[in-house]
């Protein structure tokens, strides 16, 4: 067995053929490059609004006084609401139903008068009450009411002129505050590189094996290590292109603040090595093309959902968190986030060592099980 021989000319020839085959198959190009970008755009847009959401707020002013106008102006200034007035003649409940509004705030008649009395330091006067007509079944209305109450509390405090007794100040464990999209993009990069490497190598190799191309290749000077390195390098080139596109879109559309450093390249490379190697093993272990794909599916789905791609692992129950720690993708996620969000080199190194060890083992097994240069079936 000639494991040690690596031929640069052969690897180059393989990569040229792979890349030509790739761009001549337009659907593959779409799934490879555009699909992760679409994921980022869709999820990014959904969660972008969560971070800095401006709520629609309808206000029915029955008092129409200076004070009530000031209150509306104060709410407007909080910059959390887009305020629409509701005619005082309307029946608020009916109006809400007719116009699909989930919340209408009613400023009562005599608002100004009650407020004056209260301000005149009559502690026994009941507080001025605003009525919130809301649809308890509507999605997100609780958050909206929460934000409204916070804004009102602030207005209250300013009007009474007393400083608050207790305040809290958030201190992030990260150097700077990060948004969901900044958590999400590294996860999608890790996942996209994983799925493409795994399925790319399984599909291409299973097809070539089934069609007998691998058998023909076995009668040329190509070695197993040439073949697996060609697969890895080809997938790495695609992964770099795809990652670059994902990052460009993220910067352009969401203005993410993610650090780009050498770690990014390291983790993308390790991600490719590990999952191309795994794909090569699956192709060998599974006799038929379909069972290889099914096995790849079975490995990929738990990894996608449990290793912290879409949401932090800490949100899961304890036993699932323990399980996540044996998934290789978990360490790619952790490492990429340590490198790109927190810029924590020690944490990145720790993850890199773990995923690196995994990649090395899988790579060696992959070389040993590749059919090229070995006994044909």
């Amino acid at each position: 067995m000639n494991l040690r021989i690596i031929h640069a000319n052969i690897i180059r020839a393989n990569i040229i053929v792979s890349i030509k085959s790739f761009y001549r198959e337009k659907t593959v190009v779409f799934f490879r490059i555009a699909f992760p970008v679409i994921l980022i755009l869709v999820f990014g847009t959904i969660f972008m609004e969560r971070d800095n959401e401006i709520f629609e707020l309808s206000i029915q002013d029955l008092d129409r006084s200076m004070s009530s106008e000031q209150l509306v102006a104060a709410l407007d200034q909080s910059e959390r609401f887009n305020i629409t007035p509701v005619s005082p003649d309307a029946d608020a409940k009916q109006y809400a139903r007719d116009n699909h509004l989930n919340l209408i705030v009613i400023i009562p008649e005599n608002f100004e008068m009650s407020l004056m009395k209260k301000m005149a330091a009559d502690p026994f006067e009941t507080p001025v009450t605003l009525t919130k007509v809301y649809d308890p079944g509507a999605f997100g209305v609780t958050t909206k009411i929460g934000v409204l109450d916070m804004a009102l509390a602030k207005i209250n405090q300013e009007m009474s002129g007393k400083p608050p007794l207790i305040v809290s100040e958030p201190v992030s464990i990260l150097k700077k505050k990060y948004r969901f999209i900044e958590f999400f993009v590294p996860g999608i990069i890790a996942m996209a590189v994983m799925t493409a490497s795994l399925f790319g190598s399984v599909n291409v190799n299973a097809e070539l094996l089934q069609k007998g191309v691998i058998r023909k290749l076995s009668t040329t000077p190509i070695t197993r290590i040439d073949w697996i390195l060609s697969n890895v390098l080809y997938q790495f080139i695609l992964a770099v292109v795809s990652t670059a596109v994902m990052l460009l879109v993220s910067y352009a559309v969401f203005k993410v603040s993610l650090e780009i450093n050498a770690w990014l390249v390291v983790f993308v490379a390790l991600d490719v090595f590990a999952f191309v190697g795994l794909g090569m093993i699956l192709t060998r272990v599974a006799r038929e093309a379909e069972s290889a794909s099914a096995a790849a599916d079975a490995l990929m789905f738990p990894m996608m959902f449990l290793s912290g791609t879409f949401f932090p692992v800490e949100m899961m129950p304890e036993f699932l968190q323990t399980f996540a720690r044996i998934l290789p993708l978990y360490y790619v996620n952790e490492g990429l986030r340590a490198a790109m969000i927190a810029v924590d080199h020690t944490a990145a190194l720790k993850s890199a060592l773990i995923i690196g060890a995994f990649a090395a083992v899988v790579f060696v097994l992959g070389i040993m099980t590749t059919r090229i240069g070995g006994e044909t079936p």
Partner: protein, 317 residues
């Protein structure tokens, strides 16, 4: 260089077992430089197994195979650059063109400057240079396979069923290519189901059956030695003819056109048979007496019932 320089291929007592099956059973033969050697046999005879052991991609259970003086189990990477292989059911990368495919395979063999245009001309694919593999017809795919097998200017070319699945025209085109190679003095090792192909191309034909070589000689000799009988064909609508022939102790049969065929050993029998038909009052409208064709010799050599009846063809136990 060894003293066996004269031989391109030497096979000694080669055996390959799969669980409970001898795919190749103790076969031996040699192929000289520049010789065209054909392995002829039915499905499952062990042709591909033999070729792939010769190509270094399967390991023999026992026996010794030397290619260009080197042992196939020890010198894989020394042998491979000097041989060319068209595997059974050749296939290549779907979206890669004819020219790119040839460039790809020649790059695998490194540094030699390949004559891609010459190769395309040889297999008559010059006008298809820019066509992707998946858009080629079966015959053209197979011809590309031959060109691919030649990218490294090999000393021995192995062709596993080069014409199976091709229509008669495409088959003829393939034969032209192979005859060209033969003229160039390449050592060719081919397997086939077709006797006519072996006869046209090969210097030596080995007939294999269930992993064993049942006969090996030049095509002419094979026919000479295995065609002692005559084939008589009678065109007749009269059903009594069949009965008359059968009663004489011969084994008549209907061919695909509905004519009666009879295998006879002596010229005398022909006269006796015709007399008997006439005496029986039956009539026939056509008569043909001929030597058996190659197809029939092949069938005879690969058919168990015949093997048993023909002495000297079964291998000595």
């Amino acid at each position: 260089m060894t003293q066996n320089n004269k031989y391109s291929i030497e096979v000694h007592h080669l055996t390959k077992h799969y669980k409970g099956l001898s795919a190749v059973d103790n076969i031996s033969f040699t192929v000289e430089k520049g010789e065209v050697f054909a392995l002829l046999g039915p499905n499952g005879a062990g042709k591909t197994t033999t070729v792939e052991i010769l190509n270094t991609i399967r390991t023999p259970t026992s026996g010794k195979v030397m290619l260009l003086g080197m042992d196939v189990t020890e010198k894989k990477y020394d042998i491979i650059p000097r041989i060319g292989v068209l595997p059974q059911g050749f296939s290549s990368f779907d979206r890669i063109t004819v020219k790119e495919t040839l460039q790809y395979y020649s790059r695998l063999f490194c540094c030699r400057k390949p004559d891609i245009d010459g190769l395309m001309a040889l297999v008559n694919l010059k006008d298809k240079a820019a066509v992707q593999y998946k858009n080629l017809s079966g015959g053209l795919k197979q011809r590309l396979g031959i060109a691919v097998a030649l990218v490294n200017d090999p000393e021995i070319v192995f062709l596993d069923e080069p014409t199976t699945g091709l229509d008669p025209l495409a088959r003829r085109a393939m034969w032209e290519v192979l005859l060209d190679l033969k003229k160039k003095g390449k050592t060719l090792f081919l397997t086939t189901h077709y006797m006519e192909e072996a006869e046209l191309l090969a210097d030596t034909v080995a007939i294999v059956k269930k992993g064993k070589i049942t006969a090996m000689d030049s095509p002419g000799e094979l026919i000479e030695n295995n065609a002692h009988h005559l084939v008589v064909m009678l065109k007749s609508v009269d059903e009594t003819v069949f009965d008359i022939v059968e009663k004489m102790g011969f084994a008549p049969d209907y061919d695909s056109h509905g004519h009666i065929t009879v295998r006879l050993t002596h010229t005398d029998d022909v006269r006796r048979l015709l007399n008997a038909v006439r005496d029986g009052g039956a009539s026939f409208t056509g008569l043909d007496v001929r030597k058996p064709n190659l197809e029939e010799v092949f069938l005879k050599l690969t058919d168990d019932t015949f093997l048993k009846s023909v002495a000297g063809i079964e291998e000595a136990p």
